[in-house]
Symmetry: C2
Subunit: 428 residues, 2 copies
């Protein structure tokens, strides 16, 4: 493992203190870098429960897997940074060939810029005047900063133009028209005719440049392989039509076509490989984010690698450790991790292993099921064979990386033998 | 309003930067105290969406209401701090007569101690050796630090004793036996006989002192007024029996009896008022936490004040402002706040008002319903009469204070006219 902390010295210099749950109380006052250098053991090094651990090996594996996947399929990659909001992981993603990092809201772009990210794809329309003022200043201060965002309405174009003019923006903001995925999908223009109207609006203002088309297939109601491909073909067709109509700004030197969350990147790869030749080189931009930690729920079920096992397999990298604080009956046990600590929006955590408080041995969590979460407790249902006692640690798998990362501000990066080799800072 | 920031100078000195979403980008580098002193307007002062606002007047009202409620009913009050994890609000709660602050996990107690809280009730069994080592050091360093926690098992007592002896603890740790609320409730000893066994175990070690009994009625399956009262009577009976049997340590000078979340404090007040005379004064400790912000969902429905309107009414203090970023059809709109920004574990947010981007006027959100949340988007269903456009801000009420506070690290405290008078720092 490279020493991640050394690459982002400001994060390594952060003081370990009460702000960061799970970290050893006796590390108070050390810097993160100093604590990481001690290579403590997660179980015996003073970490307190609950504590979320991220597997160093699994993260490394996942980083490599998507890097080679994107390379093999001729895709540029702007992993969605909202998943982890962790600059140390962004650095690793960029080292593994990423073109840039995707954001959902301007606050995230601010975090990225504070950590030196040079290329940002904001997968949203941006009509917040204060955020646009910030963006204009950022673009004008750094000619190497590449920024793209969606437009999906004529009104949005008006608001952007108004705010950018008021801010005295010098560089235009590059935008892509968002094509909505499905008639009742999330954001995005519903029809090609409306897309043309939005493109016309962009063409009519000096503060914006139209550089491509994009969208997100992940929230399409009733999505299946056929409908996703159909929509991707519409997106590619829109790019071709816009190109023919001379709608893209030739000064940009490329045309951006972007899609792809963590459920359908196989379809994105397939359809984007067949993009016809356009008047400029095409930046085929994939934006999957959940792969970096993967999970033991939503994405275990839905990853495209289930359909294309010959291309590899992601590894779940999270394990949430909490401690049994109550064992009131043979059927019940409670640990000290709850909604504040575990993703709970898609599935409950999965009890996987037990670390015996008496022996330190780790065994399968046989007969143990998470049946509910309170704010600060997990409710465990225990079957007749369950071997579980007050004081034992229960290691859980989680479902949904985005709502796992966001419950922790400093996450131990742990090797298979329990050695903590780094601590990953998040910014939510 | 008193200037909260001045009372906690370390928090007022915190720098405003990219770590804190929603805050004005052009305030970067100011301290929190300096930004608060500018008394900016939430809508026109550069705050970016989404942004969670806490009503200064409603918080003040709620603080006073529970203060007078507790006084009137002869209750000591240790509001559950896990709700807000905001030392500035703890200070206000203590100014409003609170005895101390309740915590759920030792990490929270660390945050409290870092901000000078002198009395902490940890409403959980504490068997984490590293956390107990920290606690022992904290107790031994400060003779004025009062700490209480649950015990609910003989094994728990063994683990506590073991860890405290290993830590060389000098002062004993004060514990209360937790009586479980209901046979299938959450933590807590299920029967009086088992409670006695746990008390015996405490009596057998020098590192612990038994000072009372406690529990939590809020997660009792099938809780209703009758069952809650029945359990509260059992709790009081247990205190009386333990007292008769001489189980409480007389050196402590009082007996602690504690219960009460945010749904049943009327029952707690009623039953605790009738606690018979014991051999020592009784500290009747209520622990409700959600009242400080109240809400527009779970606690709007379940607050005891619905049953006792003559004693007052809490006011919802949160409003989450987000901006319409897409209006793809007459039936749909999307704002830029999602699961990362809004509580979503009990109910979806409630669209309440719209701030018109063209006029700045605020009107009722007629015909607008939140139908779902993605990670970073709210899905709005809009009826025929809905007047909503890209750029408008939508103000939403939230359900569940605990999962609202924990999504924000610095929350503008806003007066009715939109003036931001302070910023509340949270530590999750």
């Amino acid at each position: 493992m490279p020493d991640l902390a050394n690459e982002t010295p400001d994060l390594a210099d952060e003081r370990v203190d009460h702000r960061f749950k799970g970290l050893p109380p006796d590390a108070e006052g050390l810097t993160v870098g100093e604590l990481s250098a001690q290579r403590r053991n997660l179980f015996t090094g003073g970490y307190t429960t609950p504590v979320l651990a991220l597997s160093a090996e699994s993260v490394e594996h996942n980083l490599r897997l998507l890097e080679t996947y994107a390379e093999r399929h001729g895709l540029a990659f702007a992993p969605h940074g909202k998943t982890s909001m962790a600059p140390q992981l962004f650095d690793r993603q960029l080292e593994h060939g990423a073109w840039g990092i995707t954001a959902a809201v301007p606050h995230q772009a601010r975090v990225y810029r504070a950590h030196g990210i040079a290329r940002i794809f904001l997968a949203n329309e941006l009509v917040d005047a204060a955020a646009l003022r910030w963006l204009a200043a950022e673009l004008d201060a750094d000619p190497d900063f590449r920024f793209l965002c969606y437009v999906d309405s004529v009104r949005g174009v008006e608001l952007m133009d108004e705010a950018l003019r008021a801010a005295g923006a010098v560089r235009p903001v590059d935008v892509v028209v968002e094509l909505g995925a499905g008639a009742n999908g999330r954001t995005g223009v519903r029809t090609e005719a409306e897309c043309a109207a939005v493109a016309d609006a962009v063409g009519g203002v000096a503060t914006l440049r139209l550089v491509g088309v994009a969208g997100y297939e992940g929230t399409m109601p009733g999505a299946d392989a056929e409908r996703v491909r159909e929509w991707l073909h519409r997106l590619v067709g829109l790019a071709a039509d816009f190109d023919k109509a001379g709608r893209f700004d030739p000064a940009v030197g490329e045309i951006v076509v972007s899609a792809g969350g963590s459920e359908w990147f196989d379809a994105v790869a397939e359809v984007f490989e067949a993009i016809p030749e356009l008047s400029l080189p095409v930046l085929k931009l994939l934006r999957s984010g959940a792969y970096v930690s993967h999970d033991d729920g939503q994405y275990r079920e839905r990853t495209p690698f289930n359909r294309i096992p010959e291309e590899g397999a992601l590894r779940p990298a999270f394990r949430l450790w909490s401690q049994v604080v109550s064992r009131p009956s043979a059927e019940q046990a409670f640990t000290n991790a709850g909604k504040r600590d575990a993703a709970h929006d898609l599935h409950l955590p999965e009890a996987q292993v037990v670390r015996d408080a008496r022996t330190g041995e780790i065994r399968a969590a046989e007969g143990v099921t998470v049946s509910g979460l309170s704010d600060q407790h997990a409710w465990l249902a225990t079957g007749p064979g369950a071997d579980l006692e007050v004081g034992d640690w229960v290691g859980m798998g989680l479902s949904h990386p985005c709502t796992s990362f966001d419950k922790w501000q400093l996450i131990p990066l742990v090797e298979a033998d329990g050695t903590v080799v780094d601590h990953i800072r998040t910014f939510f």
